[in-house]
Symmetry: C2
Subunit: 307 residues, 2 copies
């Protein structure tokens, strides 16, 4: 039986002013999916590990299963697949856990079928999976599939672009031992935004894209400022404001909430600085009574791939 | 008496989704200011032509006068200046008429003083002039001084960047014989914007910046879509919707309102197409009962300069 093992990375979405628009792939953590082609039609989830027993084995209620089903459907080939899912990252942490499972499954199924679908089509399959659990957005699944830093111009129809990433740029992500349901984080978002705030957000987002293209790291740091989503979610995450401040004080370029939180990320000009920044952020979470773990990753990592 | 003659171009601001953030300089039309240094302190406006007699000769009530006064103040030198202002473009047309006067005056005064101020400082002087007549924004004055396509990340403190412009890109601007006061156009803006609309605007604006850097003209055209400012101002300009549609149908990359209107601009991949686009837009204004004039300009033109 043809079998393939795929790793898909966690991702940092909502990069500062880029809510629902910008995301980037991490080196680790990530999820692993083993895919076997079967004669029986449809998707069967054979095993799940690393989820603490909370994920459904029903392929229609699990992002790996939904993405696999959608990939099979679009490919239009007979037969089905069997999946072993190994969660390598916490759920509800703001690192795109559901997106990583979807990306690994879609890329894996496409691989065992002989790659009938394009990366963009696989992202569209993953969007269907995300829609079932956390809303119709692509800023986690697009970098989880493509790697790198990705701009999502449109979800329907899908229109995504990889952005250049300045050499040496690293990202620190610190995850506190605290679960923040994505739904609760979504509900905290403002429904309406004042025009003047929108203009400042547009200006920072434009500068962020320009800074990625030009490698202007100081501008990149300034442009990470977000007055809309970060302040709305900050009260849901103990210590969040002081963690972001600690990241800046320790010499990062800028810091904000990763995805829907509670993880907080910081961008650093080089790897050597990133360790100190991670330590400072973890100490700030500790002061707020939360233990946490940190990962440091280059900001330009590959997406889902065969192991 | 040392005398210098300066031309500053009209500008297209509010480029699609880039309200108050993006603007670009035209080849023409523009304003001309002659500056003479005087022993008497302060700014005296000696003459104004081409304004139909509506502009004040009081240096405190005229953007050329205010920008000149601010430039003198920041330079901190003794003596003053005398200005002859020649308006080469209609006022209230959405082509940055007040900004062109300010830019020509600031650059001219700086020149006769031996260039003590940087281009960024001159833009800041022009922002003071704009603030007196049309709001505290820099998306007209920054390209009028620097030339090219300019991103305004922040007005206070001033933080602006020139963006790359794809080779061959041209802009068509059609100005109907219809005055739309900037104040009325500002009042038509929504006070609050729904979050989902903000996300789509952010996505298009990001794509616009990315397209300028990569020269992806198709993406540039798609990214010009604006659901916030253009629809709010469209009802104030007779025929606006059909002019924008005509620009697209005639083969432009995309089209939107220039500045606060009533001028409408379109971007074109090359100069040969621009003439047809201009004709189609003028015909659409004519159908709405308005005569109009058109200019075609490269999208990457110089800013204020000595003639």
């Amino acid at each position: 039986m043809k079998e393939i093992k795929i790793f898909a990375p966690g991702t940092v979405a909502n990069l500062g002013p880029g809510f629902d628009v910008l995301g980037l792939a991490l080196e680790r953590p990530g999820d692993t999916v083993i895919v076997r082609r079967t004669d029986d039609p449809g998707v069967r989830i054979a095993s799940i590990e690393g989820d603490g027993g909370v994920l459904s084995h029903d392929a229609g209620k699990n992002t790996a299963g939904i993405a696999a089903t959608e990939t099979l459907r679009r490919a239009g080939v007979p037969g089905g697949v069997e999946l072993d899912l190994a969660k390598g990252m916490p759920m509800g942490s703001g690192l795109g856990s559901s997106a990583a499972s979807a990306a690994a499954a879609a890329v894996g199924v496409n691989h065992v079928l002989g790659e009938p679908l394009s990366p963009e089509e696989l992202i569209a399959c993953c969007v269907e999976a995300e829609a079932a659990v956390s809303g119709r957005h692509a800023d986690n699944v697009a970098p989880a599939v493509l790697g790198g830093c990705v701009l999502v111009r449109s979800v329907d129809p899908l229109d995504v672009r990889r952005l250049p990433v300045p050499a040496g740029l690293h990202v620190v992500v610190v995850t506190p031992a605290f679960e923040l349901p994505t739904r609760q984080a979504r509900e905290a978002l403002p429904k309406m935004v004042p025009m003047a705030t929108l203009v400042r957000n547009s200006a920072n987002l434009s500068a962020l894209i320009h800074a990625l293209h030009t490698g202007d790291l100081e501008l990149l740091g300034r442009a990470l400022d977000d007055e809309i989503v970060t302040p709305a979610r900050m009260p849901l995450i103990p210590g969040c404001a002081s963690v972001i401040r600690a990241a800046r004080d320790a010499g990062s370029l800028g810091s904000s909430i990763s995805g829907a939180g509670p993880s907080v990320f910081a961008l650093c000009a080089e790897a050597t600085r990133a360790g100190e920044v991670a330590d400072a952020m973890m100490r700030a979470f500790a002061t707020a009574g939360l233990t946490s773990t940190a990962v440091v990753s280059p900001a330009d990592c590959p997406g889902a791939r065969v192991l």
